[in-house]
Amino acid sequence: MKKIATAAQLIAEKPFYLEQAEELHIAKTAYHNGLPILLKGPTGCGKTRFMHRLAWELTRPLITVSCHDDLSTSDLIGRFLIKGGEAVWMDGPLTKAVRTGAICYLDEIVEARKDTTVVIHPLADDRRELPIEKLGETLTAPPEFMLAISYNPGYQSVLKDLKQSTRQRFVSFEFNYPPPELEARIVREESGIEQPLAEKLVRLATMTRSLKDSGLQEGASTRLLIHAGKLIKSGIQPRTACKATITETLTDDHEMLAALEEITSSLF
């Protein structure tokens, strides 16, 4: 059997999430109105974390599916399995979420095959229905169910664009790197380092972000800063930690690597 990355959880502890604008409030309002949501933004800027927090606030279980180009419709909806000579139906994550009134989060939706993307259409409009062909039944989603998808509009490939007919079904949220003070707080809380160090990491990130288009494909994400912070917290020298978690992660270009090291060595 192919393994599908699925996780269903009722989140027990309040996840740490700092709001940038009113996104939690708006998402909750969307939820109460039965509207699905679309999260877009660069990698590592808090989309997944936001979903965790939202699920906690709504006290719904969260089922996350990481999409990939081999994800088939059965992987989402379900299939028959043979158990002890009997055919047994197994709900896929999406079906499970609809049945139990959970939040289903399809991460990186553009990675999934186009025909797979289409199965969410009837769920994402006002019908809120999930047809299960093999069972010959159509589920209607309870009010507790919510569909959420994410994608990174930064990819420039024309093959990885979200179709209008898909995206126009969703309430959209744009995520971006938080403003410096907020980001420093996030880094501090998540990695346990001291405030001044967190501020320095954020400064480093800001510098790499201004190099986007002048040699870097992407600047350092919040996630990378947290990684660096964690290594530093565990006793690794800041410069070494930044090299391992940030500079080497961002580029392979030698000149750019050298330049980034000049920046880190100035900061730390």
């Binding site: 399995l81 043979i82 024309v158 000149e255």
Partner: protein, 745 residues
């Protein structure tokens, strides 16, 4: 001259000749002198610098650079050692940009200074025996020069009655006139302005030291020994002399607080007071004013500046500021004009008589200060203002009418207020006037009758007028012409020049061609799909009809992509840009031939709406043969850049193609602009609309540009992710095929 040197010269000629013949001549004249300074193995580096200078500054400036080889390069022949700027630019340019948050250019020059848009540095540094130390010194120069901008050295502002204003002046006038608050004006209050500037600069360097210790502690720690070493080179002078103060800076920077005299001279203690985090540029000015007399007593001649300190060039900073300001003003007026027009009920601009000023719903502004937005806390010049008390500017008030600002305009307004303290009323009245005149002002002349268009197909297009949110019907005509191929060495040379790169490109593109992947659940195939089989067995058990799609097959996807390249042939591409574009096209064709995508190439230019021109270089699906190569070589700069008609035409061509993915890639060097009123917002909006039409037809537009200002308008035209800005012309040939690869995989 040794043969090896001659060979090298010939090799370099091959690099310069295609860029500019005139430049090549100058190079040949200068090369003999150059070789008295450089070893011939360094010629390639020299030429690289020269070409870069040509690209950014044109022929005249480059000729001067050629003349001054000793100043740009370390003369190895003459035994000079050390490290050269050319060697370290690759590493330090991103460093500078990262610090500043915007491109901060590094330029070789005789004196160290910054104009806030660039840092001028010595072409070589050989202060220390160790190269790492010389490198660190470069880094220090950049960091300090950036720090001056960051701590506000160039935005010195002295309120009337400030203790920094020398008493003699204060007695003469009760207050400084508002125009007298800049750095230049401050220095001119003294009999010897240079001395005042020097002292002020010392104070600012003290502040910069504190600032950098805060912001770049790593750098400052590492540079400790360098500061110490530099301090040792300064001769001991009297207390309070400039040399003494410089040494204080260096020792403080090195965090060496060993020797502090018990009862320092008042000037020294005043100076020491600047080494605190909340000191301001006004404090530095106070210091300079107080130290001025003492300093004149001592020597009268300032010590040469510390190397990273450099000199202040307020005039050049002002020039950069003015340029920025002028650009902001133009943008603001343009944008506001559009807003006023949009909010004015049915004015139907463009249909009005020429020159007639129409009512815009506002009382006439004749001679009034209409509206200003005060910055926070700035209480001056409040006549006729409506204080907002808010950080964000939501609207502007012209007389009694509120104008709500769209986001873009809000941002511009904020920048202007930050810079000038207010929105000058003239900006508003200009916008209002422009709005009143509407289009009438710059209407294109009627098409000339019977203009000969032999050998060309003629197409008529509508043009989008954002001010009326509608089309101007049948507004432009586009002539499609063929380029006469030229025979020559251009293509051959390009292929030779990029031989290595081309091999790699072809391999990469070959790999894209074989987009093989396993597809599951097929009726037939090479292997059994176990997942599908198990599922089917289960389905049978469940009483469902079994699926027959039980195989896995290795599928070779046909790429099914049609791409059209639209090349800017406006006059601004003259020279180096044109060459780079052509080279890029050749590489692109070679790579695409391997890949097998259908593609075509067109160039565009023209003048006025009646004569847009599209040059056919290669039609979709036309074989890449000698004629095509000859036409690429024949691409030459023409006139203006009216982008709407060619985009609309190519959209039509693409729409007719059967391909699943249709790409329209524009290669350009700047904004759309024509000779007539096709400029600014109007041109951008028409182009944007043409692109929206293209998208509606299933065409993916993408833009590759070398315009450094592109970020200001391309996201609006193409969308946030549908463009790429290449910061160096020289990178075009290598980058374009890579971008294509990224786009289509």
């Amino acid at each position: 001259m040794p043969d090896a040197a001659l060979d090298e010269i010939f090799r370099q000629i091959a690099a310069i000749w295609p860029v500019s013949h005139a430049l090549c001549n100058s190079f040949l004249k200068a090369v003999k002198k150059g070789l008295t300074c450089l070893h011939h193995s360094q010629l390639a580096d020299w030429v690289k610098t020269i070409l870069a200078a040509y690209e950014s500054g044109g022929l005249h400036q480059t000729r001067q650079l050629l003349e001054r080889v000793e100043e740009t390069f370390l003369c190895t022949i003459r035994g000079e050692t050390g490290i050269s700027l050319a060697e370290v630019t690759g590493r330090l340019q991103p460093y500078a940009t990262g610090l500043a948050g915007h491109p901060l250019e590094l330029i070789p020059g005789q004196e160290v200074y910054t104009d806030t848009a660039a840092v001028y540095l010595p072409p070589g540094i050989a202060v220390f025996p160790k190269q790492t130390d010389n490198f660190l010194l470069y880094k220090l120069i950049i960091s300090f020069q950036w720090a001056f901008t960051a701590i506000g050295t160039f935005s010195l502002h002295l309120p009337a009655g400030s203790p920094a204003i020398p008493a003699a002046t204060r007695r003469q006038r009760t207050a400084l006139p508002p125009a007298c608050t800049g750095l230049n004006d401050y220095c001119n209050l003294f009999a010897k302005p240079a001395v005042a500037a020097h002292l002020f600069h010392l104070g600012e360097t003290a502040r910069a030291t504190v600032f950098l210790r805060e912001k770049l502690p790593g750098l400052m720690r590492e540079s400790g020994p360098i500061f110490q070493a530099l301090a040792r080179t300064i001769p001991r002078g009297a207390e309070g002399s400039t040399g003494d103060l410089q040494r204080t800076i260096l020792l403080r920077a090195a965090e060496d607080t060993g020797e502090t005299p018990s009862a320092p001279h008042p000037v020294t203690s005043l100076f020491n007071g600047l080494f605190r985090e909340n000191a301001t540029s006004q404090d530095s000015a106070c210091f300079a004013t107080k130290a001025y007399a003492r300093f004149l007593d001592l020597t009268g001649e300032p010590a040469p500046p510390i190397i990273f300190q450099g000199v202040l060039r307020p005039a050049e900073v002002l020039a950069v500021q003015r340029k920025k300001r002028a650009a902001a003003k133009e943008q603001f007026i343009e944008a506001l004009t559009a807003v006023i027009n949009a909010q004015t009920p049915r004015n139907a601009p463009g249909e009005k008589e020429k020159g007639e000023v129409q009512g815009t719903g506002f009382p006439d502004l004749e001679g009034q200060t209409a509206a200003v937005i005060p910055p926070e806390g700035a209480g001056k010049d409040t006549q006729g203002t409506k204080p907002q008390g808010e950080k964000t500017l939501e609207f502007i008030t012209i007389d009694d009418s509120h104008i709500d600002l769209p986001d873009k305009l809000k941002k511009l307004a904020r920048e202007i207020v930050e810079d000038l303290g207010q929105i000058p009323s003239q900006y508003l009245s200009s916008a209002k006037q422009a709005a009143g005149k509407g289009l009438a002002q710059g209407n294109a002349p009627a098409p000339r009758e019977g203009e000969p268009l032999a050998g060309a197909d003629l197409f008529i297009f509508d043009e989008w007028d954002y001010r009326r949110a509608g089309f101007r019907k049948n507004w432009c005509s586009l002539a499609v012409k063929k380029i006469i191929p030229v025979a020559g060495t251009f293509v051959g040379n390009t292929l030779k020049r990029y031989r290595g790169h081309l091999t790699r490109l072809k391999r990469q593109f070959e790999m894209m061609r074989n987009q093989e992947r396993f597809v599951r659940r097929q009726k037939d195939g090479d292997e059994i799909d176990l997942d599908a089989l198990i599922e089917t067995l289960a389905d049978i058990k469940a009483g469902l009809s079994p699926s027959e799609d039980l195989y896995i097959r290795l599928a070779r996807d046909k790429r099914n992509i049609s791409a059209l390249f639209l090349v800017d042939m406006s006059s601004s591409t003259e020279g180096w840009v044109n060459t780079a574009l052509k080279e890029a096209l050749i590489l692109m064709c070679e790579a695409l031939e391997v890949l097998g995508d259908t593609y075509g190439i067109y160039g565009f230019s023209g003048m006025r709406r009646t004569r847009s021109e599209l040059f056919r270089i290669k039609d979709l699906g036309e074989p890449y043969d000698d004629a095509v190569k000859g036409r690429i070589a024949a691409i030459a700069p023409q006139e203006y850049t009216r982008m709407g008609p060619p985009i609309r035409h190519l959209t039509r061509l693409l729409a007719e193609s059967e391909a699943r993915i249709k790409l329209l890639i524009t290669l350009s060097d700047g904004k759309p602009e024509d000779y007539d009123d096709y400029k600014g917002e109007y041109a951008i909006e028409d182009t944007r609309h043409a692109l929206i039409e293209a998208k509606a037809q299933g065409v993916h537009p993408f833009c590759i540009t070398i315009d450094k200002q592109a970020h200001a308008y391309l996201p609006h035209m193409y969308g946030e992710v549908n463009y790429i800005c290449i910061d160096e012309v020289g990178k075009l040939p290598n980058r374009i095929p890579e971008i294509y690869r990224g786009l289509t995989s």
